[in-house]
């Protein structure tokens, strides 16, 4: 939702139109605005260095094609399509992971090293890297690193990698339009909060609290 649309959405509620009209007027700011903010005009409320930083991050590539392909396989194993919504890759989770490791560089080594660790494990076991292993082999491998509480000796590094991969996949998926629809989050729209709905109060026996 862009700014104009969001203001339009606010306009649907009982808020005074005078405020809204003024809000939509460009150039309502004072003369005291300085060069720094004029440059930011394309992205209100963001500092120039932030815009520049994002531009630079988008212009670089961290993962190799092979690494991204492996991330895609893993992400779709973690969040597959089901009757309610699509898969992680359909929600472009690999693109998000590519961005976030550039944005938060401390993830770079655990991700790159973890992918390498995974490929080496699979080469030793199946003479193929993870991506080229059969679905049954991929499942067998994932089962060894997806359950932290029953990890076998020698698999701890794989568990650490898979947990990070699972976290990034979940965050990447449930922050997309598809993921948020799937969760059923119903906010981020102007409304009137009148408390917990009566049927829910009743369900939890909270009518008198």
């Amino acid at each position: 939702m862009n700014r104009r649309e969001s203001l339009k959405a606010i306009g649907l509620t009982a808020i005074s139109t005078a405020v809204l009209l003024e809000a939509c007027k460009p150039g309502a700011a004072t003369k005291e605005e300085t060069a720094g903010t004029v440059k930011d005009a394309a992205q209100p409320g963001r500092e120039a260095f932030e815009i520049e930083r994002d531009k630079n991050l988008h212009a670089t590539q961290f993962f190799t094609e092979h690494e991204l392909a492996t991330i895609t396989v893993l992400a779709d194993m973690i969040i597959p399509a089901d009757t309610k919504s699509g898969s992680a890759s359909e929600a472009k989770v690999p693109d998000f992971i590519e961005f976030i490791v550039k944005d938060i560089p401390r993830y770079q080594t655990p991700m790159r090293g973890g992918l390498k660790w995974l490929d080496l494990q699979c080469l030793n076991r199946y003479q193929k890297n993870f991506r080229e292993a059969s679905p049954a082999q991929q499942t067998e491998m994932a089962d060894d690193i997806a359950y932290p509480d029953k990890v076998k000796p020698g698999m701890q590094q794989g568990v650490a990698f898979f947990s990070l991969m699972r976290d990034l996949t979940a965050s990447g998926f449930f922050t997309t339009e598809m993921g948020i629809k799937d969760l059923g989050y119903l906010g981020n729209v102007p409304n009137k909060w009148a408390g917990v709905p009566a049927d829910v109060l009743q369900q939890y026996g909270m009518e008198d609290v």
Binding site: S16, V19, G45, A146, E177, P190, K192, W193, G195
Partner: protein
């Protein structure tokens, strides 16, 4: 060729205000509305929530999905800056770990704050245990100003009649969310007091104000509000003051020092324009500092002259001392009863719906003073970090089939777990009274300057047993509350090895006390009107004058004190050696 030149303005303003946050904003608002010609210098950019708020954006509109990589409270948070600013360092002494949050922007940190608006109580001004110095004013002195702030800005809450948690002039509070009802119920079992929140969010139209609209319940006060439904100094004070025609704001103006004349009076300030690095001097009859507690102390300490060799307003040597931030500790977990919840819009307001004012008697405890508890949770908008650490949750409760599952996992069953847990988590955070001590201070680092050549602050801060024991008590209370609800704690249970999760000083962003008030000029920098003992036309209106903070967040007291000081300046105008 020497091109270094200082631009000197011919205008003499009635007042110069340094800083545009709660303190500076209120002083500017009062003086400009009284017809005074005021110049406000702000070190950061112009910011108008109406145009600049990231309100109502969806997580996918940020490539980092709202992560706090650049802005500590997330990509959509309204605060520019953070704990670290490029080219503006601060240093530490004796292994201190003080964290200094700075927001260089119109309105400062009030653009993103929690809007939790608590009055300090009678015993916060005059203590009962004799442990700390009293304020030179009482609750009765400041009450009329709290009342006026309530009316001017708007606040919700309920009249409770708690002696040290004074009531205000309240709008109706938002109703509790479902998780908050569970907390209320648990509180009945544990004896913890829980009452409706007190926040500066307009749950009703503000009488007589046509510029601000009531809250529309997006729960995003941290992003600042496009309809001015909550309190930010930018939207509620500075921008309205500009409209009077009496307030001029210069942004990106980093003040270097307060200038004084031979007689020791303040004559104006010097500043550097952060964009073109031009040096300026501007003049006024009165100088008012509202740059934030630590920044105002820095300015005074950097303003040395023949008349004020130890820094301005510092003949007492207290400037920088008695620095204290609220204590803070927290716990997170989830309520199994809230899994598989029915969905509805539960955003509510962006401040607290409920909270726990301090409820215990210190005679029965091994630490002085107390803390309040803020509660979080609900079906909020997912953002970066959503689903993080599911392996700490999904192995602790039975699946839909009633059988326990192995923690972690992947695939369709895991995907469903994320849905099941949505809206089940609960957070508790304590905010408590830290004891003001001369030994906790900021001073000028003799060897370090920032990129503008201004000497920087060096911090010396140690938590004492009083604060550590308080954090221990917070942790025990939070665990009791979780136990009473049948909740499961997922965050680390902290012990003595890390001070029971007591946050580093500065992390709660309630730092105060560095230019304290008092009746004795040997023990304080300011008198009871926040006027410098050593320099009668110099005032401080941020949180620096606080003698001793209660467990209450500082903003409402900053606003009331600043309004009181501004009215004092108006009433005393003729006596201030103003020509």
């Amino acid at each position: 060729m020497n091109e270094f030149q200082i631009k000197k303005s011919d205008i003499e303003y009635d007042a110069i205000i340094v800083g545009s946050g709660a303190g500076g904003g209120m002083a500017g608002y009062v003086l400009a509305n009284a017809g005074q010609k005021v110049l406000m210098l702000e070190a950061g950019a112009y910011f108008d929530p109406r145009l600049d708020a990231q309100q109502l954006k969806w997580p996918w509109e940020s490539p980092r999905r709202g992560a706090g990589t650049v802005r500590p409270f997330g990509d959509f948070d309204a605060a520019y800056g953070g704990w670290e600013l490029e080219g503006e360092p601060y240093t530490q002494k004796n292994n201190s770990d003080f964290a200094w949050f700075r927001s260089r922007m119109l309105g400062g940190r009030t653009n993103h704050w929690g809007r939790i608006s608590l009055r300090m109580g009678p015993h916060d001004f005059k203590c009962k245990d004799g442990l700390t110095d009293d304020w030179p004013i009482t609750y009765a002195d400041i009450k009329p100003f709290y009342d006026k702030v309530d009316r001017l800005i708007g606040i919700y809450g309920t009249v409770e009649g708690i002696e040290n948690e004074p009531d205000g002039i309240f709008m109706a509070p938002p109703k509790p969310r479902l998780n908050e009802l569970f907390i209320k119920k648990a509180a009945q079992k544990t004896g913890v007091k829980v009452i409706p929140g007190r926040g500066s969010v307009l749950t009703e139209a503000l009488p007589g104000n046509k510029d601000r609209a009531p809250c529309f319940y997006c729960g995003q006060c941290g992003r600042s509000c496009k309809v001015y439904g909550d309190f930010s100094s930018s939207s509620c004070l500075v921008i309205p003051a500009i409209k009077t025609g009496n307030l001029t704001v210069i942004t990106n103006a980093m003040v270097r020092e307060v200038l004084t004349g031979k007689d020791g009076h303040a004559t104006g300030v010097s500043y550097v324009d952060k964009i073109d690095l031009q040096e300026h001097q501007v003049r006024a009859k009165v100088v008012i500092l509202g740059a934030s507690a630590c920044e105002s102390a820095r300015l005074l300490l950097n303003s040395k002259s023949v008349a004020h060799p130890n820094g301005l307003a510092n003949s007492s040597n207290v400037v920088g001392r008695y620095l204290h931030d609220s204590t803070g500790a927290s716990l997170r977990g989830f309520l199994p009863q809230l899994m598989d919840r029915k969905r509805y819009n539960e955003d509510g307001v962006g401040s607290v719906h409920i909270y726990s004012p301090w409820w215990l008697d210190n005679k029965k405890l091994d630490f002085p003073r107390g803390y309040h508890i803020e509660y979080g949770g609900g079906m909020g908008m997912p953002g970066y970090g959503f689903g993080w650490g599911i392996e700490n949750m999904n192995g602790k409760v039975p699946g839909k089939d009633g059988k326990m599952k192995e923690a972690g996992g992947y695939g369709a069953a895991l995907k469903d777990d994320y849905r099941r847990f949505f809206g089940s988590s609960i957070g508790m955070a304590g905010r408590g009274t830290a004891i003001a001590k001369a030994s906790n201070y900021c001073e000028i680092d003799p060897g370090v300057v920032d990129k503008y050549g201004i000497p920087v602050l060096r911090f010396n801060y140690k938590w004492a047993n009083e604060e550590i024991k308080q954090a221990k008590h917070m942790q025990e209370t939070f665990q009791e509350m979780f136990h009473a609800m049948g909740g499961i704690v997922t965050s680390a249970i902290h012990g003595p090895e890390n001070n029971y999760g007591l946050e580093a000083p500065g992390k709660i962003i309630h730092e105060v006390g560095t230019v304290r008030m008092g009746d004795d000029p040997k023990k304080s920098a300011l008198n009871k009107w926040c006027q410098a003992h050593d320099c009668k036309n110099l005032f401080v209106v941020d949180a620096a004058p606080f003698v001793q903070q209660g467990d209450k967040n500082a903003t409402w007291t900053i606003l009331a004190l600043s309004m009181r000081t501004a009215e004092y300046i108006l009433s005393q105008k003729k006596k201030l050696n103003i020509s």
